[in-house]
């Protein structure tokens, strides 16, 4: 009887130890959150960035999960508050982030054929009578998110530079992402709108025409949470910089954005021209 009781105790102890080990291991393997602003539909974002997360997980030997922020502002807020360990964001959001929460370590930046910069377009339907930015007065215009670099900040600065204030427009609408801007114009809901060049090129063949191209702006970047261990930051940066070393990495990057040829180290100073644009807009009384 005593012997049987001892056996039971031993078994319980063993089972308890196993359960504890498993729980600790689970805590230790809490995935890093790779946050992405909603410049595409959430499902498309998850689809495009999950291979990258898996790649990073293999490289740093730590699980990485993808998280899509609900809005650009929400994205900045989550980064600022340290809710995301790794973040992919546009230059406008970065400028705002740094102005509100301070600098963050830049892991890597997109590099296209034109370098680390990208452009945006103000566009109309191909059959539209509008041929100049000045003719947009009184027309229905659509922007993307208020914090979007190429669907709001830079184009608005361009309009302003060309003497078109949003108040002069027939209507101004803000939609969730760049695709909706292009589709809204194509569907006839809006007369004109602004998107980054990648999206413009994607829909151009369906019936869009560019009215103006923006100045080059630092392209999108990956940043790290302040407080991540330095070696982990370095490992993440190294993994991203070297992603194009393999065919798999090239495909991952191509699926995210086809015109990006590699990831390169980024510098905060690269955003100075954008900061100047933001400053101009703030001076003009634009509430970003």
């Amino acid at each position: 009887m005593i012997h049987r009781t001892a056996d039971r105790v031993i078994r319980v102890l063993i089972l308890t130890c196993l359960a504890l080990g498993i729980a600790l291991a689970a805590i230790a393997q809490e995935p890093l959150k790779l946050g992405v602003h909603p410049y595409l539909s959430a499902s498309e974002v998850v689809k495009r960035y999950t291979p990258l997360a898996e790649y990073l997980a293999r490289e740093i030997k730590h699980p990485v999960s993808v998280e899509v922020s609900s809005t650009y502002g929400n994205h900045i807020q989550k980064i600022g508050q340290g809710a995301l360990d790794i973040a992919f964001m546009g230059p406008g959001s970065y400028v705002i982030l740094t102005s509100q929460y301070g600098k963050r370590p830049i892991l890597a930046a997109f590099r296209t054929k034109e370098g680390k910069v990208f452009h945006g377009h103000i566009m109309v339907r191909k059959d539209s009578p509008i041929t100049t930015l000045g003719q947009l007065k009184g027309k229905r215009f659509v922007f993307g998110d208020r914090d979007s670099t190429m669907s709001h900040v830079v184009p608005r600065h361009l309009l302003l530079k060309n003497g078109v204030d949003v108040k002069q427009l027939g209507s101004v609408s803000f939609v969730a992402n760049h695709d909706n801007i292009a589709l809204g114009i194509l569907a006839g809901t809006f007369d004109a709108g602004a998107v980054k060049e990648e999206v413009f090129l994607n829909y151009q063949s369906q019936g869009l025409r560019s009215l103006a191209r923006t100045q080059p702006i630092m392209d999108h970047i990956f940043i790290a949470r302040t407080g991540l261990p330095k070696d982990l930051v370095q490992a993440l940066g190294k993994a991203l910089i070297h992603i194009t070393d393999t065919a798999e990495g090239k495909k991952i990057l191509f699926d995210i954005r086809s015109d990006v040829v590699s990831l390169v180290p980024g510098d905060d100073r690269d955003f100075d021209n954008l900061r100047a644009i933001v400053s101009d807009l703030e001076k003009a009384g634009v509430d970003l």
């Binding site: 595409l40 539909s41 499902s43 498309e44 659509v142 609408s173 939609v175 969730a176 992402n177 695709d179 909706n180 589709l183 809204g184 194509l186 569907a187 006839g188 809901t189 809006f190 369906q206 019936g207």
Partner: protein, 726 residues
């Protein structure tokens, strides 16, 4: 049968039941299909309404990506949707989902237009098909059909076993018993049929055999008919009373009857056999033909006559065979042949044999006899010439010479009759011969006999020795004269005739063709049958002893035969006789006869002549005659000596006269030896031998100039002079 009927009824029931279940299953499947499609459409329609509401919210936010995503996911989650499309008012396709249509599935379309304050925002088009509903219905139909089959099978099996147990097994037992009985019956029936077939086969074989035998009989009968109709022999049958039972065409033709009906049933002995060959009655009881059925032994008679319907008679050889039926004699079959031709040939053969015998006899003595006569005539002639006209012995010499001439003619006649006389045939016109001999005939036949000639207008050219033909006419004229002691008319007629095969055969000429016919008729006493048949035999004569030699007509016969012709005679006692001579006609003109200067020919000469003659008397006579006429003569007693003499005096000798038959070397051999010395030497041959012996030496055929002994001095001188002058 009953079992089959039960089984048929059960199968019919099961079939009906199965059909009913199939129809029922089909109806259920159709109904369920309709319910399912309606339900599917209702569901999709309600989902479309929900989707429209959701899109309305997104449209207000210009969230087209959400619409696109929704459309894509909606489409992917509903397999029955083929097309979902969202169109903006300007026609832009905001979102679209397409799926390849499924085979033959029926489709349906739905459309919704989203509006805001009356303005269209978006049009949703949806096309779905009922593939799922139809798949469910197909599955349901399969199950229902399977259930129907299963139910039918189970029910059918149950019914079959229950029926079998309750009804079929007893019935089957009953049927088995019946089948056994039927089988036995069938076996008996089969055995009977087999017997019938065997019997039928036997009968068919028997029938076949009968047909074969009948056909064989018909064939044999046809063969017999063919034999009877085609054979050259006459064949007839008689019954035991002598009545004719049949007669073949050859028999009818030989007996001069047209139809078989003319003799059938008639007594053949009375009809054709009533007289013997000599004309005396032939009693029926003596008939040798009857001997066949009287003695049941065959009978053969070589030479009798049958009498034809026209009264004439035909010499026959016949065979009579007894005819039996079931062992008993019922008559005889008589086969006979016409032996007229044979009898004629036999007669001709006998005549030829006689001629050959006489010819051989005459030929045997002719040589020596001619040499003797040559000497007699030669020396007689010399003696006569040297005697003065007033010499009282000259008459005796004349008689000697006349007798010697008669002896020479007799020898010549005998040789002619035996066809051993040398003949010199040339194309001559018979009419000319008649005309030439005409003036000789007048004194021959005498003044109380009138001579008439009736000659054809056309020339009748034949190949003949004119002298011999003259001899024939002279002999016939002499015969006619003797037949007309009280005077009469002697007619010579010539004509041309064409003899065909039958006529040639009938007249006994060697071949058909054109013939010259010389008819010599008298109005004398005529001849009886016996005389007529012997008239051409040598030494046969009806004249008194000393008045005729019995050789005149025989010589005429021999001459005509030697000319490849024939001579026939027709005579009636008291009316006269007619002789007809047939000679083959030539299709060419007669040879011209050269005029002969006899005086010039008997002239002498001074040339040197070599004589080769083994007969001393003849040799000396020739030497004497030739020397007296001025010639120089060198004598030789045989061929060898002649060649030696010629060699010694070859430059002088102009002519050689050679006897054909000599010791050591004959005339021809000696001549050839002389010719080798002097090829152009002139020659004359002489012979007392017959033509056939001379012919064997090749002298006649090679154109040698031949003198036939006996020779008269004048003839010798004439031939010598002619040869030297040629």
């Amino acid at each position: 049968m009953t079992r089959r009927r039960y089984r048929g009824a059960l199968i019919a029931f099961i079939v009906v039941l199965f059909c009913f279940l199939l129809i029922e299953a089909s109806l259920v499947a159709v109904q369920q299909g309709r319910l399912l499609t309606d339900m599917t459409r209702d569901t999709i329609e309600s989902e479309l309404d929900l989707m429209s509401d959701a899109f309305y919210e997104s449209l207000l936010k210009a969230d087209y990506i959400t619409i696109r995503t929704f459309i894509q996911r909606w489409g992917e989650s509903h397999d029955e949707l083929v097309l979902i499309r969202a169109l903006s008012p300007n026609g832009f396709v905001v979102g679209e989902f397409r799926r390849p249509p499924s085979g033959n599935a029926r489709t349906y379309s739905l459309t919704r237009t989203l509006r805001h304050e009356g303005m269209p925002l978006l049009t949703l088009e949806l096309v779905g098909d009922h593939r799922e509903a139809e798949a469910v219905v197909a599955k349901l139909r399969t199950r229902l059909f399977a259930g129907a089959v299963l139910f039918t099978a189970v029910l059918g099996t149950v019914l079959w076993y229950s029926q079998r147990r309750m009804a079929l097994i007893p019935l089957e037992q009953e049927i088995a018993l019946r089948q056994q009985a039927e089988k036995r019956l069938q076996e008996a029936h089969d055995a009977l049929e087999t017997k019938v077939r065997e019997r039928t086969a036997d009968l068919e074989r028997e029938l076949e055999e009968r047909k074969r035998v009948e056909a064989e009989l018909v064939r044999k009968e046809e063969r017999v008919h063919l034999l009877l109709n085609s054979t050259a022999e006459g064949i007839y049958g008689i019954d035991t009373n002598g009545g004719c039972t049949f007669c073949n065409p050859s028999g009818l033709r030989m007996l001069a009857y047209e139809r078989e009906a003319d003799v059938i049933g008639r007594n053949m002995h009375t009809l054709i056999h009533h007289k013997r060959p000599d004309g005396t009655p032939y009693p029926e009881q003596d008939c040798k033909i009857y001997q066949a059925f009287r003695t049941t032994q065959p009978c053969h008679v070589e030479n009798e006559v049958f009498w034809r319907s026209d009264g004439s008679r035909v010499p026959v050889e016949y065979w009579s065979y007894p005819l039996f039926e079931k062992g008993a004699v019922i008559g005889a079959v008589v086969t006979f042949i016409d032996i007229s031709a044979r009898k004629r040939l036999e007669t001709q053969l006998v005549q030829s044999q006689k001629m050959e015998a006489i010819g051989t006899l005459a030929g045997g003595v002719a040589h020596d006899f001619n040499n003797i006569l040559t000497a007699i005539i030669g020396y007689g002639s010399i003696l006569q010439r040297k005697m003065g006209d007033e010499d009282p012995l000259k008459k005796n010499v004349h008689n000697i010479l006349d007798s010697a001439q008669r002896a020479a003619r007799l020898t010549k006649s005998l040789l002619t009759f035996g066809r051993k006389q040398v003949m010199a045939p040339l194309p001559v016109d018979l009419n000319s011969v008649v005309r030439r001999v005409e003036k000789l005939l007048v004194p021959l036949i005498g003044e109380d006999v009138e001579l008439r000639t009736d000659l054809s207008e056309a020339d009748l050219v034949v190949k003949a020795d004119a002298g011999q033909i003259e001899q024939v006419l002279m002999n016939l004229a002499a015969n006619a004269r003797d037949a007309m002691p009280g005077g009469g008319c002697f007619t010579v007629r010539s004509e041309q005739t064409l003899l065909d095969d039958e006529q040639a055969h009938l007249h006994g000429v060697p071949a058909p063709g054109a013939y010259a016919v010389l008819s010599v008729s008298d109005t004398g006493t005529g001849m009886d049958e016996e005389t007529r048949t012997k008239i051409f035999e040598p030494f046969f004569t009806t004249k008194e002893v000393g008045k005729g030699t019995g050789l005149g007509l025989a010589i005429a016969y021999g001459i005509i035969k030697q000319h490849s012709g024939i001579i026939t005679v027709y005579s009636e006692q008291g009316k006269g006789s007619t002789f007809k001579i047939y000679l083959p006609l030539l299709n060419k003109a007669a040879s011209a006869e050269e005029p002969v200067d006899k005086e010039a020919l008997s002239r002498g000469g001074t040339e040197v002549i070599l004589i080769a003659e083994d007969d001393q008397a003849v040799r000396e006579l020739m030497r004497s005659v030739l020397r007296e006429s001025g010639y120089t003569v060198i004598e030789s007693t045989d061929g060898e000596e002649a060649v030696q003499n010629f060699t010694a005096d070859q430059d002088r000798i102009r002519l050689v006269i050679l006897d054909t038959i000599m010791p050591k070397m004959n005339g021809k051999e000696a001549y050839e030896a002389i010719r080798r010395i002097k090829p152009d030497i002139k020659s004359l041959f002489m012979s007392g031998y017959t033509a056939d012996i001379i012919s064997r030496q090749g002298l006649l055929n090679q154109g040698f100039d031949l003198m036939q002994k006996p020779l008269s001095p004048a003839e010798l001188l004439a031939r010598v002079r002619k040869t030297l002058d040629t």
